[in-house]
């Protein structure tokens, strides 16, 4: 059938779902992750530390962004065996990255029944024109975006969750802040437009009118929006939450720091109580060394510029 995915036969089976319903369920999984922290992990051991510390999901990858940046070269999807090892180690959802436009990698991740695919600019892009047609997949996708136009283009292609791109592997929050602020101000602008102005705005942003109209009517993105890229401290996490993020991804910030378990747990609590400065002050004490980090103007490769 054209508009349905074939029946998935798990232990208890499930009815055949239309594509629309599958997409709704995928957006809803992202809703369940809200108010939580998704942590990059490279081994089952790290995954267990992350789960114990209160991660609401983990991102399984061979090298965290800081190491990808340091190593250089082409960065690809991780070994499925390594991903499966992490899926077996924890009970929370597991995400994994594929390269921008690399639908064959995405097919592999779907085949191992990953919970979420991140079509990610952290890896080397496989296609410099097209992103993956995510509507062809049952498994959900999260994609990075620097602004409203990118976010809506990814949603149009089938992404069911958005995150800021930030600048991965730097420990520098400036880009995540810039992307979140830009998104917010563009949403505010679109919300205030008269309907006839939306046609022009859709053209400028290179997005479908209907999607932009949804943003106009609801004053928000039609999917959950997390912050990612450069979050290294509880204060960074609180900053992004106060700027309107619905949750955070922490990549290199945890396992590149002195005391990963403690820092991870502190960031989790800071996301829940992001308005409570007194609590975050306590959480920020004695966390050991934060990742060293590099400033955005000290790096040569801007990952955020990949895939628009």
């Amino acid at each position: 059938m054209e508009n349905t995915f074939e029946t998935n036969t798990g232990e208890y089976g499930r009815p055949t779902l239309t594509k629309q319903k599958q997409y709704a369920l995928n957006k809803e999984l992202a809703q369940m992750l809200k108010g939580g922290v998704i942590m990059d992990v490279t081994t089952p051991e790290q995954a267990r530390i992350a789960e114990e510390a209160g991660a609401c999901a983990v991102m399984a990858l061979e090298r965290i962004p800081a190491d990808i940046r340091a190593a250089g070269g082409v960065s690809r999807m991780s070994d499925p065996k390594m991903i499966k090892g992490i899926m077996e180690a924890v009970s929370i959802p597991v995400m994994a990255k594929c390269r921008i436009g690399h639908f064959a990698e995405a097919q592999i991740l779907e085949a191992v029944e990953i919970d979420y695919i991140d079509e990610s600019e952290v890896l080397s892009p496989a296609d410099d024109v097209y992103h993956i047609d995510k509507t062809q997949f049952k498994v959900p996708f999260v994609c990075g975006a620097k602004d409203l136009g990118e976010a809506l283009r990814r949603i149009c292609e089938g992404a069911s969750m958005i995150r800021t791109k930030g600048e991965p592997g730097t420990g520098d929050i400036v880009q995540a802040v810039r992307h979140m602020r830009k998104m917010n101000s563009e949403i505010a602008k679109v919300s205030a437009m008269r309907e006839e102005e939306l046609y022009h705005a859709a053209k400028e942003l290179q997005v479908p009118f209907e999607l932009l109209k949804t943003v106009h009517d609801t004053k928000r993105l039609p999917v959950v929006n997390f912050a990612a890229g450069g979050i290294a401290t509880p204060a960074d996490a609180a900053l992004m939450m106060q700027l309107g993020a619905e949750g955070v991804f922490v990549g290199s910030g945890i396992f590149k720091s002195g005391n990963p378990a403690k820092r991870a747990a502190a960031i989790v609590k800071a996301v829940t109580n992001y308005n409570d400065a007194k609590m975050i002050a306590e959480l920020s004490e004695d966390l050991g060394e934060a990742m060293v980090g590099i400033n955005e103007n000290e790096i040569e490769l801007l990952m955020a510029e990949r895939g628009k």
């Binding site: 998935n8 809803e28 809200k34």
Partner: protein, 194 residues
Amino acid sequence: MKIAVLAVQGAFLEQEKAFQKLGMETIELRKKEDLEADFDALVLPGGESTVQGKLLKELGMFQDLKSRIENGMPTMATCAGVILLAGTLTNDSRTYFQTLPVSVTRNAYGRQLGSFYQEGVLKEIGNFGMEFIRAPLIEAASPECTILGTVNDHVVAVRYRSQLALTFHPELTDDLAVHRYFCQNIVNEIDSMP
């Protein structure tokens, strides 16, 4: 009537909005001090039970809420919330409130590819479209529980005294029937008891 929604992680906003549509006042429970407010009912939303359970304990809310539930505070739990209430878990050594005499399997339908939507009939509520997201399953319920709904012969909704437990997500639909049932049949009923 004031409804407190556990807001440490997960889809708590959706629950607040649903109750607000029914004219209820809602407050969020994020830390110990939030428990000083007056409230008449408790909502345990969907999300990740491992995160919620850990934060409940570490943010100092666990014992207080456990005794409130034991003392009959009307409590509605969806998905992860059911895991927090369950007496036993078949596939996890972590347990939480243990105020609901049921045994629950976490992620019983598999990973996200096993998530599904199913229409069915809920006793005392009627037809309802149920969203199951990496849902748990109620394997067995004590005879004291009233079974309100099953899907493929598996229990998806039970009531035990003032606790209502649902393995699906009524807060993700526009249908407020389950929320209305909770307000009318559990919160009010308890209120009018001597």
